[in-house]
């Protein structure tokens, strides 16, 4: 059994999606508990990928490929897991999206991938999201963190609007807000009343962890 778990780990570390799923299927076929596969193979492997990234050995594509392999394996395993054994512990709930008028998604998607790799439960609202939807989703998902992305100098004003709307609806104190996007600055984040700003995805995950700790 150890051998098959090691093979799964190795396939995920190298970001080979099809092979990861095949090996997971084979392990399940051989009678290995799905929850065990997640706990003993997939989660530690993804953790190792994150470490390699932190140490500068791995780059964003390595992370993305490993995260996709993880996602595919989880998709296969999840229906097989009994409710009481459900998934690994979550670090927190994040609702995230790109503001109205802005169709850029790459920065946000990198952040989502890194957050998932760090164990967060992430709800992606997509791009061109109206302020009201951000606020509704924060309520509905009982989010710990709201991430608001905007890439253009013309759309960053929407971030301010969303924070104002949160305040208006009485939800501002129940969620931590982090803003991101190339044209932003710490000064801007403070000005619009966000809790944090991050210049890139790595800083973003660190800030989110810090915000969760402070909650």
């Amino acid at each position: 059994m150890n051998a098959s778990l090691n093979e799964i780990k190795q396939a995920l570390i190298e970001g080979r999606k099809n092979e990861t799923v095949q090996r997971v299927e084979a392990a399940v076929g051989a009678g290995v508990e799905p929850a065990l596969i997640i706990r003993e193979a997939l989660t530690p492997a993804l953790y190792l990928v994150g470490e390699k990234f932190d140490q500068g050995e791995y780059f964003l594509p390595d992370m993305m490929l490993a995260a996709e392999a993880m996602g595919a394996a989880i998709n296969f395993l999840e229906p097989l897991i009994k409710r009481d054994q459900a998934g690994p512990d979550r670090a927190g709930r994040v609702v995230i999206g790109t503001v109205k008028g802005d169709l850029h998604c790459i920065g946000k998607d990198i952040v989502i991938m890194m957050l998932k790799a760090a164990g967060f439960e992430v709800f992606d609202l997509g791009v061109n999201v109206p302020a009201a939807v951000f606020v509704e989703q924060v309520k509905e998902k009982q989010a710990d963190i709201l991430g608001i992305s905007a890439l253009m100098t013309t759309t960053i004003q929407e971030q301010k609007k969303i924070i104002e709307l949160l305040r208006e609806k009485g939800w501002r104190d129940r969620v931590k807000v982090i803003v991101g996007g190339a044209p932003l600055s710490e000064e801007w984040a403070l000005k619009i009343g966000a809790d944090a700003y991050a210049a890139d995805a790595i800083a973003g995950v660190k800030k989110v962890k810090a915000l969760i700790g402070a909650k």
């Binding site: 594509p61 169709l103 790459i106 990198i110 013309t154 044209p183 890139d200």
Partner: protein, 477 residues
């Protein structure tokens, strides 16, 4: 002499791959008017994407329209298609600036923008003025229009009319430019610049963008096609893959504009850059930028189109050593490839910071890089055969007319900023740092250079237009 990094075979491969992408993978393209025009012209839909047949694209590429732009002062003429040299311009729309002389940054104000434009108007090697700053004290809904108006008022040079993100912005920008020119017809005859429109990468034209393209093309005003793909994030990581995808974005744009109006003048402007694969940040400290621009200029020339590329770019946050070497590395290839427009004057940190000091330094860097852009003229007279012989007979070079005449004709480049003196002399001048010299020059430019240029009446008219636009935008929001 023109630097051509791609072979003829390479160019043909780029073209073939581009047609392949457009006809088999297709583009995401929204907007009723644009879709209808392209479907009527023979495009079809597959998996929701629009496929552009090779024949249609090649037909659109035939007979490109020649472009000449003019200054706000229409006696300044700048031929683009027939250009025999590159033109330089500022980088645009930055909200944060570096304060001169230090390391502090702050949000840009309307007054800063006005100063940047006045400095740009003065600098002799800056050819077209792009509003560098997006001041945070402008009402956000009409910031683009306010920036353009500020440029119209404070320079005589050609001006980038603005980057339009929808039809409404096209309408506002065209109205303002028409006021300055004295009517739409005159604007069409003598445009003071182009309107830029930027699709998304990869291969994505949202409805607002196609609406803007359709309106601009219908007017027949020159358009800067401005895709900004990022290698590794929104385009292939390989430089050639990025260039081909960017070319596909250009040709899809061009096909749409030509289907709307065969007579649309188009500029092939490229912003292909690479992301840092650790952070996703597009930092600007990338030695491929220059080569990428040189290749894009060559591809544009292959289609008979004028080009615009990056050149004076850097990842540095200060006008420092890093900024100097990265600018030189990235600006020389497009200068040698004779790209029509070279961007980046005054830019720092991959385009996230603007600096007036850097703007002044860039004027010098660009002057030095382009000093020999026409190559050497080789003949008896330039070689100075008679002069050499006469000196050997007892004359000296300093006393020869050959020396004086060629000096007057600009044979030697004489720097205005950097040190060229011996150590002792430099010490006796108070060991000046380049940034100190630049600061003095900045102050002198702002003190001596006149402006604004437009008369009171036109200023008033433009400001009324701005107020009207602000009201109509807030009304529709």
């Amino acid at each position: 002499m023109i630097f051509e990094p791609l072979s003829k075979k390479d160019l043909e491969a780029v073209h073939t791959a581009t047609l392949d992408i457009l006809s088999t993978t297709g583009v995401v393209l929204e907007g009723e008017r644009a879709r209808k025009a392209l479907l009527d012209a023979g495009c079809r839909v597959d998996k929701g994407r629009l496929l552009l047949p090779a024949g249609l694209v090649e037909d659109a590429l035939r007979d490109p329209v020649s472009i000449t732009i003019y200054g706000v002062d229409s006696s300044i003429e700048m031929p683009l298609t027939e250009a025999v040299r590159s033109y330089s311009h500022n980088f645009g729309s930055v909200s944060v600036l570096l304060e001169p002389g230090g390391q502090n940054i702050r949000e840009a104000t309307a007054k800063d923008l006005e100063e940047f434009i006045r400095i740009s108007d003065f600098l002799p090697h800056l050819d077209m003025v792009v509003p560098s700053l997006r001041p945070t004290d402008f009402p956000e809904e009409v910031a683009t229009l306010a920036m353009t108006i500020c440029a119209f008022i404070n320079t005589r040079k050609p001006v980038d009319i603005g980057t339009a993100s929808d039809s409404w912005e096209v309408k506002c920008l065209v109205e303002a430019a028409s006021v300055v020119r004295g009517g739409l017809d005159r604007l069409k005859q003598k445009p003071m610049g182009t309107i830029s429109i930027s699709p998304l990468s990869p291969l994505n034209f949202p409805a607002d963008i196609t609406e803007a393209i359709v309106d601009c093309a219908a007017l027949g005003l020159p358009i800067t096609m401005l895709p900004c793909p990022t290698r590794g994030l929104t385009a292939p990581l390989t430089l050639i893959g990025g260039l081909v995808q960017q070319n596909a974005e250009q040709l899809a744009f061009l096909t749409l504009a030509k289907v709307i109006n065969r007579g649309t003048p188009l500029l092939y402007t490229c912003r292909l850059a690479a992301a840092n694969m650790r952070t996703g940040f597009v930092g600007g400290n990338d030695p491929d930028l220059g080569l990428s621009g040189a290749c894009a200029a060559q591809i544009a020339r292959y289609y008979g189109l004028p080009s615009g590329v990056y050149g004076l770019d850097t990842g540095a946050v200060l006008p420092d050593i890093q900024s100097g070497y990265e600018r030189a590395i990235n600006c020389l290839p497009p200068v040698l490839a004779r790209a029509t427009f070279i961007s980046g004057m005054g830019l720092l940190n991959g385009g996230l910071l603007a600096s007036a000091e850097q703007l002044v330094i860039d004027d010098e860097i660009y002057a030095m890089l382009t000093h020999r852009r026409d190559g050497l003229t080789v003949n008896r007279e330039t070689i100075g055969l008679e002069t050499i012989s006469a000196v050997m007979e007892g004359d000296n070079f300093l006393a020869k007319e050959h020396t004086r005449d060629y000096l007057r004709r600009g044979e030697l480049y004489m720097g205005k900023l950097g040190n060229g003196a011996a150590y002792e002399e430099w010490l006796s001048q108070g060991s000046p740092d380049i940034r100190q010299s630049v600061k003095k020059r900045l102050e002198a430019i702002l003190a001596e250079h006149p402006g604004p240029y437009l008369d009171e009446k036109m200023n008033r008219e433009l400001n009324l237009l701005l107020e009207k636009a602000a009201r109509s935008r807030t009304g529709t929001a």
